[in-house]
């Protein structure tokens, strides 16, 4: 079986994933070599693309799924998790 980590997250910051959080997420994801995908309501995008993330239009209370596959997948998920849990430094 191909190794990967999949985890669900609920968006908690009040303003949702607007330009700034999207930029932060994409920047963070780009630091890792793993393939990172983000899914919401059947839409799947590249987690390293700011436009992709913005297109998810994830608002407060929405759930997104992040999937990381590669040598540094664990660190990648942890880094993204931290951003999301800290509400991107907002609220």
């Amino acid at each position: 079986m191909r190794k990967m980590i999949v985890k669900d997250f609920t968006i908690t910051n009040r303003l949702g994933i607007h330009a700034r959080p999207a930029a932060l997420l994409a920047k963070a994801a780009s630091r890792f070599s793993s393939d990172i995908r983000v899914m919401k309501d059947g839409l799947e995008i590249n987690g390293k693309s700011i436009m992709g993330i913005m297109m998810l239009a994830a608002a407060q209370g929405n759930t997104i799924t992040i999937r990381a596959a590669g040598s540094d997948e664990k660190a990648a998920i942890l880094a993204l998790e931290e951003l999301l849990e800290n509400k991107f430094g907002e609220d």
Partner: protein
């Protein structure tokens, strides 16, 4: 209104603001590659533009703009953008412009579906970028100011901060815009770059033709179109005088603000935007006496998160270090309320849920700000200033929330200065009258005269019908000021003033006489105030105050003060009484056309009471 001091004279250059037109057409198979290349090139040019602007802004250290430019740049760099446009060109055979528009429309549609209003609004980011790329596709690029070869006065309906930041000071010697306010980022950048500017002139682009000779007076906020010889000479003189004077004044920048007997006064700046922090030290300010944080929310239309607060405060504190910054917590009020705040329509907002009252009602918002301030305290010297405190219980509540914030910062292990000083604005009469009680609970006072006078005299100061009652020298105000300063000093704390009265040169002697320790004002006034302090005597100012306290009318005091200044300081009286450089209620705006009637402006000035509005001579001659 004048947005950036200085006088500029030159030819008008009208910036045309056309909408980008383009055609929608299908392209043949053999042209697909060419269309994709066009998109790529336009994208590269747009990216280069943004990077260049970003560099300029880094240079100016404009933190707030950098962030939004960063995300815009990331969007342009995102392979997804070029891929999706290329796909539309290839599959649907649309030309580059049409494909670009389709790609952005698809993006925006996703946001339209969002229930979150804030996310829906993000469409404007895409519109902005799409237009930018479209302009490059049309071969025009963002209307560049680079084409300007002569020295010109730029006339435009509006100017973006990015455009302002790009101005070549050698070519754009001044600008006037129809739109915009004094506190817009464009105006702030103009001041930082020392380009004379008049903003909010409403009809400038209609009244001024390309090539018209223009005099722009950023001090008075006037634009003179096709001036007569006489007016031209007048302004040329004035420009030279102003330049000499400013150089002269700035020479004293590093000298202390002390009276002839050696009494020191700390002169600090009032700021609203982080960008202003740069010019503060240039004017010789010893720190920032009032940082109005609510403008951070007003410019963004929402209350920023702790992290955003922190970044901005840190940036201000670092720029001004080692001097201190007094950060005033949110002072949302009737005239400056963020849309997002739950401020309801009130019948009497000046007396309503505002300022510290609002913060105590919304402790989480308040605590976000306090945590951010505490975290920023690690990077320089700052003090916290609570506005509009009306009595002890409000102060106690505010301090309790502050302690909670401190605890939270400590628990997170974030560095902060545990000895941040706390002060209050003394601007509500009830607080002023118990200044002796409050002085024991805080580290400093800052008197806000605008509100203090308004509340004390029971007048709405924006209501023209009662504006005549606004008398800073009214005996009641003088008594209050005396009491507050004495109460503060008795408790061993510093007493400062950050209201408009502090930057009004006439009242300077009065404030000196009362014994204020710190005066805070718009930074460009500091050299003037310092100059006067350095030639005055504290003892004389004290007897002036005694004299004023003995009279019964505010109006009478104004006359007494003018006479006193003329007698005691004849060298300074012209400059002081004129309030040079136009800080005294210089509220003119719009355009004066002097092509017909010569020198209306000069006549008008002679018509106003001689003691307050005559043209400055003494100081201008460089005495």
């Amino acid at each position: 209104m004048g947005a950036s001091h200085g006088i500029a004279e030159g030819k008008a250059y009208l910036l045309a603001r056309k909408k980008t037109k383009f055609s929608k057409r299908y392209v043949a198979q053999e042209h697909v590659d060419k269309e994709i290349r066009r998109v790529q090139e336009a994208l590269e040019k747009s990216k280069a533009d943004l990077r260049k602007i970003k560099e300029t802004l880094t240079h100016e250290d404009v933190h707030e703009h950098l962030f939004i430019l960063d995300s815009h740049l990331m969007i342009l760099e995102d392979p997804m953008l070029v891929d999706s446009v290329s796909e539309i060109i290839t599959l649907e055979r649309k030309n580059a412009e049409w494909a670009l528009l389709t790609a952005f429309d698809n993006l925006k549609r996703v946001f339209n579906g969002s229930e979150n209003e804030y996310l829906r609004e993000r469409k404007s980011d895409f519109d902005y970028l799409c237009n930018w790329i479209l302009k490059h596709l049309a071969g025009r690029g963002e209307e560049s100011l680079q084409h300007i070869n002569d020295k010109v006065v730029l006339v435009s309906h509006y100017l973006s901060p990015a455009e302002t930041a790009q101005m070549d000071r050698e070519k754009v010697i001044g600008f006037v815009t129809d739109l915009g306010g004094k506190t817009s980022h464009t105006a702030i950048l103009a001041r930082a770059m020392k380009i004379p500017a008049v903003v909010g002139a409403e009809k400038a682009t209609q009244e001024i033709n390309a090539g018209d000779r223009i005099i722009l007076d950023g001090i008075e906020g006037l634009v003179v179109v096709n001036p007569t010889r006489e007016t031209l000479d007048h302004y040329r003189n004035r420009k030279v005088q102003y330049g000499n004077l400013e150089r002269d004044l700035l020479k004293a920048r590093d000298l202390p603000a002390e009276t002839l007997e050696g009494k020191r006064i700390q002169l600090t700046a009032n700021i609203e935007m982080v960008e202003e922090a740069n010019s503060v030290l240039e004017y010789g300010a010893e720190g920032i006496g009032l940082y109005r944080t609510e403008f951070l929310c007003l410019s963004q239309g929402r209350i920023p998160c702790e992290e955003e607060h922190f970044q901005v405060y840190r940036s201000v504190v670092e720029r001004v270090a080692p001097y201190p910054v007094n950060i005033r917590t949110f002072d949302f009020g009737s005239d400056k309320s963020p849309d997002i705040a739950s401020l309801r329509q009130e019948r009497n907002p000046a007396l309503g849920l505002r300022s510290i009252r609002y913060c105590l009602r919304e402790p989480e918002i308040f605590k976000d700000q306090l945590r951010a301030i505490l975290r920023a305290s690690h990077y320089g010297k700052l003090r916290i200033l609570f506005p509009m405190v009306s009595g002890l219980s409000e102060l106690e509540k505010a301090k309790a929330i502050y302690e909670e914030a401190k605890e939270e910062v400590r628990e997170k292990g974030q560095p902060y200065d545990p000895n941040v000083e706390i002060g209050i604005m003394v601007e509500v009469p009830s607080a002023a009258l118990i200044a002796d009680v409050l002085a024991k609970e805080v580290d400093f006072f800052s008197v806000g005269t605008n509100d203090l006078i308004q509340y004390c005299m029971a007048i709405d100061r924006v209501n023209k019908e009662v504006a005549y009652l606004y008398e800073p020298l009214h005996p009641s105000i003088l008594r209050i000021l005396k009491f507050v300063v004495e109460a503060g000093h008795a408790a061993g704390i510093r007493v400062g003033m950050c209201g408009e009265m502090a930057s009004d040169l006439r009242y300077l002697f009065v404030l000196l006489g009362f014994g204020f320790d710190q005066l805070s004002m718009v930074s460009s006034m500091i050299p003037w105030v310092k100059r006067i302090i350095r030639s005055s005597r504290h003892e004389e100012a004290k007897s002036l105050v005694e004299m004023l306290l003995a009279t019964k009318h505010g109006k009478e005091n104004e006359m007494t003060l003018s006479t006193w200044i003329q007698e005691k300081y004849p060298d300074l009286s012209d400059a002081v009484l004129c309030g040079y450089p136009g800080s005294l209620g210089s509220s003119r705006k719009g355009i004066s056309d002097y092509s017909g009637e010569p020198s209306d402006d000069l006549h008008e000035r002679k018509a106003v009471p001689a003691c307050f509005r005559v043209r400055s001579k003494g100081l201008c001659k460089g005495d």
